[in-house]
Amino acid sequence: MTPSLRSPCALTALVVLALLVVTGCTAADGPAERDEVAVLCSNDAEICRAWAAAFTERSGRDVTLVRLPTSEALERIRRGEGLPEFDIWHGGGAEMYVEAAEEGLLAPYTSPETAAIPDEFRDPEGSWSGVYSSMLAFCVSPPGLAALDAQTPRTWDDLLDPALTGQVSTASPRTSGTAFTAMSLQIDRLGDEAGRDYLAALYGQVLQFTRSGTAPVQVVVHDEAAVALTFAPYCEAARAEGHDVETVVPHDGTDYEIGAVAVLADAPHARGAREYIDFALSAEGQRSGADSGIHQIATRSDVPGNLAEILADGRYPVIGSPLAERVERRDELLGWFTAEVER
């Protein structure tokens, strides 16, 4: 290096140059080309990848995929207002989609495939449509329970067994739709006051709150807890991988999530986005997620074992409340959770 390069002026110039290069290089160019679609996905990472792969295969369009938990995804969409980044939001509890729609963050689109989705599983204005569902369940570790000398919990009250203190894993409802669904269910099951009392007792059994809704099953798989509160498909997938876990749908009531898909307002690639929606709502689209090994329930009425069928035949003791009610109580419940449980 010659002395001139070491002078402060040259150094400053180097700094500015580096800054420009870096910002330029790492800027997300976004889907600037015509045959790309940008998807913000709030389902399990493997399912997201399976969806993207299936869509690409079908349409020839590349998919730029970013995976974020549902509430973080909603935050991202809010921040992206006026700076459209994504075309599609796929996956995650419909409660968030309702909020997003109310804030005008979604672009209504009625796909030809919409007809196969029952009314109760989609937005009447066409802002979003439910494309998969999962039942809330316990994922238990029989060896773990045996070591604790505890019975397999079959009801929500069984979770309050003193032997299970510190052995229950669940996500924080503040970060996870799964956990919020479980929380909301208790209010539906027991009423507001008794429900909160129950929740206080239940949360007393929890080891620690995970961030992600898919984490509790892994906590149980790694023997750090004996029972996970989760959606059944995640537990089934772990079992299919060879782990010694069992899915138990509580006798005294369960609920389900509806995972949705929507076009985002100001989507840069409107046409590609609509094609994606058509795919996501199709039977092929709703089945493609299963390539990941996680089998979520389809919402289309023409897919065997679809949600409407399951609800009608009463195999699961579904309680649950209308989506609108859940959305309404969200802020208050989460506020209660923050004040009374977390702190």
Binding site: L11, V22, R211, S212, L334
Partner: protein, 535 residues
């Protein structure tokens, strides 16, 4: 150029840097502070008092324990011959390459419900586990600071004390303790702040115990109020204020950086045999055994893992983090050198002010910085001259690259600045005067006298900066997005899912890379500043 001209130019050089710092750090901190006061005024932060009390108690305990154990280890090391002492340094120093969350994961691997020694150990979730992990993670800091501070200890002083009948306790009080007062005071304060503001160990081991840092982390990523996050960020910065006050009144760099005495091992200290020395030795053996158990358990759990330890996503994260860390170093190093040069030329008052601001930036908890930046630049900022773009998050300018680079650069610039300033002061006055009498101008003085002496120090600092950027948790976890994945966020995701083995594998790869990168950066810096021969 005349003296006056140089001074003006130096001051002018500091202006854009200062403006940048104001926009990127000053404004976010001010905004965060106002939000914090607003939250306090509306009392919208339930339960935070209890959380703060628990966190403070936890940090105090960890600080005391880490300091005591660091003392015991350093004392034992100093009484050993060179080779075993180097082994000590290597084992404890290696912990610096292990991020705190990995220490927490190792604690779970040892004592968690599925841990190797679960049957004989109490539950690690909650305060016991957090204390253990935090102590182990912060031990190297206390140990190394004490080791460096004790380089100035004259072994004759120990001998003199002993020939006058001093027992071990008096030797410790009269010979070993005095050089520690300032550095240990500062280090303890910094450890307190660091343990208080680390969200990663609580993320793994908190159980149901709320801590300030982890609460702030959740507030930032989850449903909730920005008010609580800002209030916590301000609380975390409060313990730094008394330290800053002390440093403002006593600006000697020696308060922060003990005089570096150069190469060579210090002579072994022959301390009188006593219960104190024996206790230190016993504690040292215990600590080393514990560290060994943690390391071995991590290793064996990787060996027994039934999943792939290294995934494509992990590889992408490592490359992304390395890239950002190195780019940040390329920005921070010249900036730091520039500000140090400009400070020296711009006059004493400006120099003192610049040094102080740099120290403030260095000491500010990274959590506070991260939260402040997130809150200020998560959305577009309206100004009278137009909107400042959002800088945080995937939807922002550069997909969040700017935020991450600022997060890396902000604490790195002060490190380089202070290292260069310390190097400038290392050249003895007599040598400089002799050189000038012999006809050496300022430039030659700088290149042939100051730079070689400061070179080693700056090279080491550059390596440390690069290493730290790669390993650091905060403020990265507040600012990273899937578009710009960072090792720390990726690791926290892994740990959320109890994927300990993969975390260990990630740490191992990072440790090797950090060592290689650190060594390469040190060598490159040394080559650039170089030994050009002395006058």
């Amino acid at each position: 150029m005349t003296e006056r001209g140089t001074r003006l130019m130096a001051r002018a050089a500091l202006v854009p840097v200062g403006a940048g710092a104001l926009i990127l750090v000053g404004w976010p901190v001010v905004r965060m502070a106002t939000q914090a006061f607003a939250a306090l005024a509306t009392a919208s932060t339930p339960g935070l008092g209890r959380t703060a009390a628990v966190s403070t108690g936890l940090s105090l305990t960890v600080t005391v324990l880490a300091t005591v154990l660091g003392l015991a280890l350093a004392l034992t090391a100093r009484t050993l011959p060179i080779r075993p002492r180097r082994l000590f340094d290597a084992v404890i120093g290696a912990l610096l390459l292990v991020p705190p969350y990995t220490v927490a994961a190792a604690v779970v691997a040892v004592g968690g419900r599925g841990g190797r020694f679960a049957a004989v150990l109490p539950d690690v979730y909650g305060l016991p586990g957090m204390v253990l992990a935090m102590v182990v993670a912060h031990l190297p800091i206390a140990y190394l600071v004490i080791r460096v501070a004790w380089r100035v200890v004259d072994p004759h002083l120990v001998e003199m004390a002993r020939v006058h009948g001093a027992r071990a306790g008096e030797v410790f009080r009269l010979v070993l303790l005095p050089p520690l007062r300032a550095p240990l005071g500062v280090t303890a304060a910094l450890m307190f702040v660091s343990t208080l503001s680390d969200p990663s160990i609580p993320a793994v081991l908190r159980g149901r115990v709320p801590t300030l840092a982890h609460t702030a982390y959740i507030e930032v990523i989850a449903w909730g109020g920005e008010g609580t996050a800002s209030l916590i960020a301000v609380l975390l910065a409060l313990p730094v204020l008394p330290l800053l006050l002390v440093l403002w009144r006593r600006p000697e760099p020696s308060l922060l950086v003990t005089r570096w005495l150069g190469r060579g091992a210090s002579p072994t200290l022959a301390l009188p045999s006593s219960p104190l020395v024996n206790a230190c030795r016993a504690l040292s053996v215990l600590v080393l055994a514990l560290v060994l158990v943690l390391m071995l358990t991590a290793g064996t759990s990787m060996a027994r893992a039934q999943v792939a330890l290294v995934t494509p996503a992990m590889r992408a994260v490592i490359i992304s983090t390395l890239g950002y860390a190195l780019v940040a170093l390329l920005i921070a190093a010249p900036l730091g050198v520039l500000t140090a040069w400009a400070s020296q030329r711009a006059g004493e008052r400006v120099a003192r002010g610049a040094d102080f601001l740099q120290v403030t930036l260095l000491l500010m908890p990274a959590t506070t910085l991260g939260i402040a930046f997130f809150l200020a630049y998560g959305l577009e900022t309206p100004t009278p001259w137009g909107d400042l773009p959002a800088l945080v998050g995937g939807a922002s300018l550069g997909s969040g690259a700017v935020a991450l680079l600022v997060a890396f650069v902000a604490p790195a610039v002060p490190l380089v600045h202070l290292a260069v300033r310390a190097g400038q002061q290392r050249t003895p006055q007599a040598l400089q005067e002799t050189a000038r009498v012999l006809g050496a101008g300022r430039r030659r003085l700088a290149l042939q006298l100051v730079l070689p002496r400061a070179g080693a120090l700056v090279a080491a600092t550059a390596a440390a900066v690069a290493a730290r950027n790669i390993v650091s948790v905060v403020p990265v976890v507040f600012l990273s997005t899937p578009d710009a994945p960072m090792v720390a966020s990726f690791a926290l995701d892994l740990l959320d899912r109890a994927s300990f083995e993969q975390t260990f594998a990630l740490t191992g790869i990072i440790a090797v890379l950090v060592t290689a990168v650190g060594a390469a950066v040190a060598a490159a810096s040394a080559a650039v500043v170089g030994r050009r021969g002395s006058l």
